[in-house]
């Protein structure tokens, strides 16, 4: 079974101070490109997609966004995470009239066809847990990577054992 970690601590960005969602999306996309995970076309695609199909998710007191775009722009799968020193506005998924003040961003660059549904489902169940989100907002890069990789592996194992 593939045990590769989807979250790498050098692509976790803590306490980012940005003025807009465009700024943080650009920063994260640039880093993903620098590290060879995505193509040049990824940055424009992900920013444009966010404007059409917004990904803001209000989870209680914490706002989360899960920006992503077509896998044709992705070279290698990874989930990059950013926590913000102050929230920036995203629009709610499925409801662009509603603003979500986002504190944590999970940028998804997923290449595979079938397993990406499992990853997304697992990530959703992690994101729905306000306690985990709170922990992420108070952790450093290595702690975030460790915590999430462990959770994702556990969920993957649970699924495998149910078959």
């Amino acid at each position: 079974m593939c045990k590769e970690n989807l979250i790498k601590s050098d692509l976790v960005f803590i306490m980012q101070n940005v003025k807009s969602r465009q700024e943080i999306l650009e920063h994260m996309a640039n880093r993903l490109m620098d590290e060879g995970y995505v193509k040049e076309s990824f940055k424009k695609a992900i920013i444009e997609r966010e404007e059409i199909y917004s990904t803001g998710l209000p989870i209680g007191d914490i706002g989360v966004a899960i920006p992503h775009t077509d896998r044709v722009h992705v070279k290698k799968s990874i989930i990059s995470i950013a926590t913000l020193s102050h929230s920036v506005e995203f629009l709610e998924m499925g409801n662009p009239n509603k603003i979500v003040d986002v504190d944590i961003i999970f940028m998804l660059a997923i290449k595979e066809g079938d397993s990406h549904i499992d990853v997304l489902t697992d990530l959703m169940s992690i994101i729905q847990d306000g306690m985990i989100l709170d922990k992420i907002s108070r952790s450093n890069e290595k702690e975030v990577a460790l915590l999430l990789n462990e959770k994702l592996h556990n969920l993957k194992d649970l699924r495998a054992n149910h078959i």
């Binding site: 997609r49 489902t121 959703m124």
Partner: protein, 102 residues
């Protein structure tokens, strides 16, 4: 008992519609309903609806006002965030039960 058809719809990229579909099926089955779910992207809705003829659409993305006007729609965000998902499932279940006799 009738099998109800649900169409879940997302934007593009990672198929949040599939996540919503699985949650929807699970919660509606728990409420005693037999459900068949298919997913598609927002750009595919107009072609899928006449073929599949869903009883409801659950969308995690915006659908234009003219899209599938005759089909009842529910916003699927609660299936992704987990917040309010039992309530949403109740609402969908109630609606489906109300059309069962038609």
């Amino acid at each position: 008992m009738r099998v109800f058809k649900v169409l879940t719809v997302c934007g593009t990229g990672i198929a949040t519609s599939t996540v919503a579909a699985e949650k929807c099926k699970e919660l509606l089955s728990k409420r005693g309903l037999r459900i068949d779910v298919i997913e598609c992207k927002a750009t595919e809705v107009e072609s899928k609806v006449p073929l599949y003829q869903p009883d409801v659409i659950v969308n995690t993305t915006i659908l234009g006002p003219n899209i599938a006007e005759d089909v009842k729609k529910f916003r699927g965000l609660p299936f992704l965030t987990g917040l309010g998902m039992e309530q949403l499932a109740d609402e969908i279940a109630d609606y489906l039960k109300s059309i069962e006799t038609k």
